[in-house]
Subunit: 131 residues, 3 copies
Amino acid sequence: MPVSIQVTTRSRNQMKDITGDVQKAIAEAGASDGLCTIYVPHTTAGVTINEGADPAVCQDILDKLEDLVPPNAGYRHMEGNADSHVKASLMGSSASVMVENGRLVLGTWQKIFFCEFDGPRTRKVYVSVSG
Amino acid sequence: MPVSIQVTTRSRNQMKDITGDVQKAIAEAGASDGLCTIYVPHTTAGVTINEGADPAVCQDILDKLEDLVPPNAGYRHMEGNADSHVKASLMGSSASVMVENGRLVLGTWQKIFFCEFDGPRTRKVYVSVSG
Amino acid sequence: MPVSIQVTTRSRNQMKDITGDVQKAIAEAGASDGLCTIYVPHTTAGVTINEGADPAVCQDILDKLEDLVPPNAGYRHMEGNADSHVKASLMGSSASVMVENGRLVLGTWQKIFFCEFDGPRTRKVYVSVSG
């Protein structure tokens, strides 16, 4: 059964480190070994794994996505967030990480980032571990 | 064992809602709880999860991909579908969704879309649930 | 428990076919049926599944990524590999493939590619199968 995490974002585009929350959800689920899936049930947000040491990396990712998919650039969808939907699909709605002895098996520099593309909002993320 | 779904597309670029087919495959597999994987065994097609309410969203995604990766723009691959391969990797060949009590745990606006980039064709999608 | 594969790359940007290594890891793990996850624990590399028959396809993918995310284009991250991080998130840090009777269930033309964006380097990839 997935555990639900609440994520609060504070700008239109934001990558928020949720690694600690995901690790806590795994402990809560009592999972020891398996595959952890992080799932975003929204259509204008995504999830990605990248460097967490230098915050400039996330800013570069957000800036590049804004450059490739600028807002209000003649889209058909009339809610003003067509770019947010495109960015969500480029990042993807889920990420997978292995779990060993109850711990996420991440690389040295890796953190899990919730990718907000239509904030600020209060969002949900589901976490589950399959054996 | 994966269940196979047949998808028929009708244009070169198309996002086709396969949520109902995936849900049916889960019922067929008798799966109740776990992680559903939707897998596309083709190299010029992909899968993504995004908004299904307004069809303009899918059209915007397809248009933006066409804008970023236009066909016949000096590629090396000589079959006329190099752009289709690039688009497939940008969307990805699989999607993951949790299953609870036999139902896909999707967000309110989320639908699962088969992404055709070299149609029209008859395609295959595999669906499996791991516990 | 994930099996670790070593991947040696020979240029800054490279897509390296690791299908055989992944298949070997599955045999090593003694896995018969389930979902294979290929996970890249690096932040300037990713993984994708695409065509392996014509090497031009991989070159086109790398060229298009370089075109969309050129190196040294005014990024904030000062290590000279900001583009590598962005490309990694566009491809993704994991791929999922079903396993049946101990064999990867890939499409006719599909191969699994480690995507190097900051090589040459010696890298690691984790492979696991969940039931």
